[in-house]
């Protein structure tokens, strides 16, 4: 015992830096910004973990990834074992390692972080997931024997994909219905290539297909079939349609040419590959000066995408201050390195026409922060007489999304909240209709990948119970977490 303690080297106070593409160079391409640890770097970072007896980091993670356990496996160089350990709790480690707001979750409470930099849990997670994928070893998925039950999943974002994977493992016959022509939800149409390579999402989706999940793309539920019709053919339905309705501000000039919702801008670029126009047929306006309204991940993704498309100047306009920026810290840091301008404490009031139906400038007001509002954040109010204009050619609205009404409105007796989101139990995803479950952004409003996955997993467990009943479950010995 004493020996072991001695063996542990002194903690390196700083995180092992992850190699990144040069900021100027990467502003011109769509390749991934952060290049990932080498094996040596990963091992060195893993060594920084103390292997706490009661690891607080695990409780910091919304799905309680066994962080300590997987890092210890890493310290023993058992990277495949580490990957399998994470997969007990998270379906998409390669994704979460890249996009989780770790600084607010697992890493926020890491014990090492009290004195030094916290352990880079997300980066380690990314490393083992990438290692596993690149090694070509597919971890064997334990599949229960068929239950003969059919489950329909509406939407192929992180919540739907997680629910589908879990239910397939439990022996159910799963079909995903996806409105777009490619599965993956926001991971495929929203989050850009330079932050989350699409090949990673595709390989996770392939894993689902290997498990026998059928994916029907181009299937808009509410149009091609209603949820009620799905209930005729399936034993249960999970709704994971996300919060896909773009919000506009309702200011003058918002319908001018050159004004995009972030959804449109990112969909054209990521899903339709407009950055490779005319090689790909979907056009997008490029070059010029681009202003992005908002301060979340969506705004950062939009502004950095605009830069990569060749914008002369790309700026964020955000009505609060730096501290309130909801985006992941790493993205803000990267954006600054790349030369993105930040107009903080600034709120747009109208978009100005060049006389031919195109954006010429955006008129803004400076803001100051007063006492906190309902969200607990300090509230911005405009400073009188502070109007000024920013000349620009493109304005991108990244101020949030709402529930897309297609599914809620076409499903009978489905209870919604005031804002049109589906009312569902946080623990089980159960909605007001027996057999219909829901989770992810369509229940919570825009949240995070890992929360959507967590919701998909909880719903899968509840659906399993609903389908096979408690008794059968005991017989098959599956218990509450059949995946582990």
């Amino acid at each position: 015992m004493a020996d072991e303690v001695k063996k542990r080297p002194k903690i390196i106070p700083k995180q092992i830096p992850m190699p990144e593409q040069d900021p100027i160079e990467r502003g011109k391409n769509f390749n991934e910004v952060a290049l990932g640890f080498t094996e040596e770097q990963a091992l060195a970072e893993a060594q920084r973990c103390l292997g706490c007896l009661k690891p607080p980091c695990v409780r910091g993670c919304p799905v309680e990834v066994p962080i300590k356990d997987f890092i210890i496996l890493m310290q023993e160089k058992d990277f495949i074992g580490a990957a399998n350990k994470i997969k007990e709790k998270s379906m998409l480690p390669a994704v979460c390692g890249r996009v989780c707001p770790q600084e607010d979750q697992c890493e926020k409470v890491c014990v090492v972080g009290k004195k030094f930099d916290p352990v880079s849990i997300g980066r380690l997670e990314r490393f083992v997931a990438d290692y596993e994928r690149q090694s070509g070893t597919k971890s064997k998925v334990e599949m229960a024997s068929s239950t003969g039950k059919k489950v329909a999943i509406v939407g192929s974002g992180p919540s739907g994909v997680t629910a589908a994977g879990d239910l397939a493992k439990m022996g159910h016959n799963v079909t995903i219905f996806e409105a777009l022509h490619k599965p993956g939800g926001v991971l495929i149409y929203g989050i850009p290539e330079f932050r989350l390579p699409k090949s990673i999402v595709a390989s996770e989706i392939d894993g689902l297909k290997d498990m026998g999940v059928e994916i029907k793309t181009n299937a808009v539920i509410g149009k091609l079939y209603t949820v009620d019709e799905l209930m005729d053919d399936f034993d249960a339905v999970f709704i994971g349609t996300g919060a896909g309705l773009p919000v506009f501000m309702g200011i003058e000039g918002e319908n001018l040419n050159g004004v995009y919702s972030a959804n449109e801008f990112l969909t054209r670029t990521n899903l339709m590959k407009a950055y490779d126009f005319p090689e790909f047929d979907t056009p997008i306006k490029i070059g010029g000066r681009v202003v992005v309204i908002g301060g979340g991940n969506v705004a950062m993704d939009s502004v950095r995408t605009a830069l990569r498309l060749g914008a002369k100047e790309a700026s964020i306009v955000y009505r609060r201050s730096h501290e309130e920026l909801p985006a992941r810290a790493e993205e803000v840091h990267h954006a600054k390195e790349e030369g993105i301008k930040f107009e903080m404490l600034t709120g747009p009031i109208k978009i100005i026409d060049n006389g031919e139906g195109w954006v010429k400038a955006i008129e803004c007001m400076r803001m100051e922060l007063v006492e906190p509002d309902d969200s607990g954040r300090r509230r911005p109010i405009p400073i009188e007489g502070s109007e000024f204009q920013i000349d620009c050619d493109i304005v991108i609205m990244a101020i949030g999304t709402n529930a897309n009404p297609l599914v809620p409105q076409s499903t009978s007796d489905l209870e919604l909240n005031k804002r049109g989101y589906i009312l569902a139990s946080e623990e089980t995803g159960a909605t007001s209709r027996p057999g219909i479950f829901a989770g992810g952004d369509i229940v919570t409003g825009s949240a995070t990948v890992i929360l959507a996955m967590g919701a998909g997993r909880k719903a899968a467990n509840a659906i399993h119970k609903y389908l096979v009943g408690e008794e059968d479950e005991e017989l098959s010995g599956n218990g509450d977490n059949p995946v582990s």
Binding site: F248, N255, N257, E264, P278, F280, D281, P405
Partner: protein, 277 residues
Amino acid sequence: MAKILEKRKVRPDVYFFRLSTPEIAKKAKAGQFIILILHEHGERIPISLADINPEDGSVSIMFMTVGKTSTEMATFEVGDEIADVVGPLGNPSHVKNFGKVVLVGGGFGVAPLYPIAKALKAAGNEIVTVMGARNADLLLYEEEMAATSDKVLVTTDDGSKGIKGVVTLALEDELKAGVDLVLAVGAAIMMKFVAKTTEPYNVKTIVSLNPIMVDGTGMCGACRVSIGGETKFGCTDGPEFDGHLVDWDLLMSRQRMYLKEEKEAMERYSCNCVPIS
């Protein structure tokens, strides 16, 4: 994937396809549209349904070769497959017995009128179809419309067939005789003038708008139109709107958003298409 079951060249620049889409055919209603993607590198383009056949599991479309995608689509042959077809999208036309309905079609707009005419006729309406073109050779879907209408009025700019003049001329005569509903499909400019013509007569006028779209499911907002001063999404709130409330200038301006890029794509496509001799 949707296989092309039938292809017809209706005019040098207009093609008719019948596509094998059993699920969509079962669900689609008059007034709705589909979005299709030709191949891996393709864009998503919306096209109205020109016929719906649940029995043989097909839907038909009629399209004009206006740019790269439509021109490329015209090279597809019977048996070829269109990579992605999604639908039915948009809201179906409101069908009930209105009384006397005048349908106005310009260009390829006559094609989507056909299923609408069928549905309105079945609901007991008296159908008058007004269709126009520059000259007799450019008229489309005449027989089909004749089969579903009580009366067909043809207008040509040069007088080579029917009434010499534009559609609004023939429409005006009908309006004077009394009309309960007007429904117009075609180029924005034509629909704008139809709406202008009916306004003094206070006749409800439905138009089917065609703003630029991406997803067609309410996710992107590319299809924003202004109706009575309120922003609506063409794909999920429409495509049909009250013609008297539409901000036509905005629609036409937004349709031109990618003019430069569309031209570039077309030029590049034409170059690649012509073999070097």
